[in-house]
Amino acid sequence: MTMEEEADLAEVMELTPEMKAAVGKPGEPTLYEVTSLGIRTFARAVGYKNPVYFDDDAAKAKGFPAIQAPPGYLGMPVWNPNKTTARQASFESPFKRNLNGGTAVEPLERVFAGDVLEAVTTLTSLEIVPSAAFGQMMIRVSETVYTRKSDRKVVAKTRGTGLSY
């Protein structure tokens, strides 16, 4: 790629007003169900052995109402092919390929099978940066706050970094 072409690309790939407006705007609340099947599948995949993540009796012996979710497991969004939820503010992007750039988790409360969490995601930063591999890439950082519906306690916060190129 010539310097002129790179300059053209840099001019095209700038944040649009629509992109800038998406930053800081919370998405629609999304429900996440924490089920015993979901917890056990997650714990199995990650390789946990602690019985409180698998065995109701072991969890109840600890004084818990049901099996506990390992740190980082916050259920699955309720899937409904007839209803879509805008989890975060969206915009047209010229970058079509996506990579997971990173994860941060802050567990605040124990989460148990049967909990229903309300997640609200906010795009907190968005930038287009030079990339040796792709010319340019977009970096999106989103933060999600998970609140348990039954007692309105914030049970966890997460931050995700998405890379688009």
Partner: protein, 140 residues
Amino acid sequence: MPAAQTWDSVSEGQEFETVEASDSQRLVIWAAASGDFYQIHYDDNFAKNNKLPDIIVHGALKGMWVGKLLDEIAGDDGWVKQWDVSYRGMDIAREDVTIFGKITKKYEQGGEHLIDLEVGVRRKDGSVSTPGTGTVRLKK
């Protein structure tokens, strides 16, 4: 799997490690657990058609392996306060990786007994694909 630690049992510089396998069956179970069904993680032909040498490990699974290591260090009486990781490189499936944590700071704050750790995912060649940090509260 590291044993659960107490505040009195740990010291700065102490290291913990666990080895994780990344066979295709495990990646499929993770796909079901996480809802990430992108085919580069379980479909050999799809991965190769996308110029990958083989299927690759989900970034989020690597992040949760780090969370598990911290949870095992914390034990039932401790608590994982936070962790973060960056996915700096791909890990090819079917190769074992080492999840590691090294205590960088041991301190008391707000009545809690805490350790900070440098954490990550290390490949067989010694390179770290997924560096990060974590904080764990330990039982006194």
